[in-house]
Symmetry: C2
Subunit: 235 residues, 2 copies
DNA sequence: ACTATCCGCGAACACTGTTCGCAAATGTCT
DNA sequence: AGACATTTGCGAACAGTGTTCGCGGATAGT
């Protein structure tokens, strides 16, 4: 651990060549967590999957936190950025869809802190800033927009995966229903009463809600003359 | 663990009375994690702070996950909901400010999953729905608005606390600066070049950015005739 | 008083992250 | 070629983790 994770020079050194690379380690970690969940991520399991020993891992990373950072940047490399068209709405939606798909493929992404991001994550950041550039926002507003959009995607994906887990393991919405009768939550009850025409867990509504949220933020942030049809449907 | 966490009847039972209550346990956990961080939360430490043994804790909760759920709902009880005024912007801002303060007081809140929420969390949900009610949104849009706002507050608070930690532990923005020279991130570089007049880590700008984000979402979501001055400042 | 029931908890099990020191392998220099 | 410096891989250990089991004792209803 002479330098930080991402500033590693691969010049020839004195001793024997390292058997693995940071990329290998990241790939193995991602593969493991994708299939067995975050709880399965342990030094010994990763080392076993790598064909080495737990203690050897500490020649590459300085601790378990580094594994998480490595994983996050590894999957951030899955982005395929199309050339920017100049249409804020289209460009932002394109990258947001990719981000949502990424979070669906790797639901554990929500649990890794966004600190010290690697080159791929910075590339994502750069692309999103570029997509927002035609709006001619100042730096503060741009960073806010990026945070707003990234946060929306993360939260939306988290809600989606949590819904999947809840519908599999049984006790989900019915638990809320019994709480509605126990305590008094007038506004929540009114909301539930007004909307029993459509099943709220309709999977096709998710896509519409997703882009509606994006458009809502864009309409609030970007100038209206750059927007096409910013208003979301309302009853 | 006969029933779920929140549906616990306190009727007289056969055996001896339980020494502690779920509220006590939650309070002890919150106190511990507030002072020593999430890593310090262990069964044995909680039991020690309670004056009992680790195995005894399993008479109250079914595992460590229950502790997290207990803690989240415990601090959600710190909300003090003012009567709704009917002004969407004012009411939403009021609860958002409280939520931000809550996240500042308990930064670990970001790390606990939002699944199976307790009565206090549902009360927060209910209040936020009530604050959004004058906008006359349909159920889907309302839930989306709630998710949007809650997510924004959570992300904002996380960014704030992460900034605090980064500024204390040294390597933060300068690490990004060296990456800017190493890879090519044109849009990010342009953004940094355009905005070196003001220090981006100015703590006083945080408040403005916070309400600007809220207003941005409200302006995108709520009808414009319910808004007072929805446009955010732009250069 | 009897008994069903529940509580507290000591002990154990399988793991966890992390450190230390040593042997072997490799590059550079004389 | 040989000596040296350096770096890797790893066995072993340590402190601590979540969780389970089964016991003894306390309690309330009958």
């Amino acid at each position: 651990m002479p330098t930080s994770l991402w500033l590693r020079s691969d010049e020839p050194k004195r001793g024997p060549r390292p058997t693995h690379t940071l990329g290998d380690i990241a790939a193995v970690c991602v593969d493991l967590v994708d299939r067995e969940g975050m709880r399965a991520l342990s030094m010994r399991r990763v080392a076993e999957a790598l064909g080495t020993s737990a203690a050897s891992l500490y020649r590459y990373v300085s601790g378990k936190d580094d594994l998480l950072a490595l994983m996050a940047d590894h999957v951030a490399g899955e982005y395929e950025f199309a050339p920017l068209s100049g249409d804020v709405r289209a460009d932002v939606l394109a990258v947001a869809e990719q981000s949502r798909a990424l979070h669906q493929r790797h639901p554990w992404l929500r649990e890794v802190p966004a600190t010290d991001m690697g080159p791929n994550t910075v590339a994502y950041l750069d692309h999103l800033i570029g997509a927002l550039a035609p709006a001619k926002l100042d730096a503060t507003s741009t960073m806010m927009g990026v945070a707003l959009l990234s946060g929306w995607v993360t939260n939306f994906a988290a809600q989606e995966s949590a819904g999947d887990v809840a519908s599999e393991s049984g006790g989900g919405a019915e638990h809320i229903a019994t709480m509605l009768t126990q305590g008094d939550y007038p506004h929540l009850a009114a909301l539930f009463a007004h909307a029993d025409k459509a099943d709220p867990t309709d999977p096709l509504d998710n896509d519409a809600a997703f882009v509606a949220g994006i458009e809502a933020m864009l309409f609030g942030i970007a100038p209206p003359d750059l927007q096409a049809q910013p208003r979301i449907p309302r009853s």
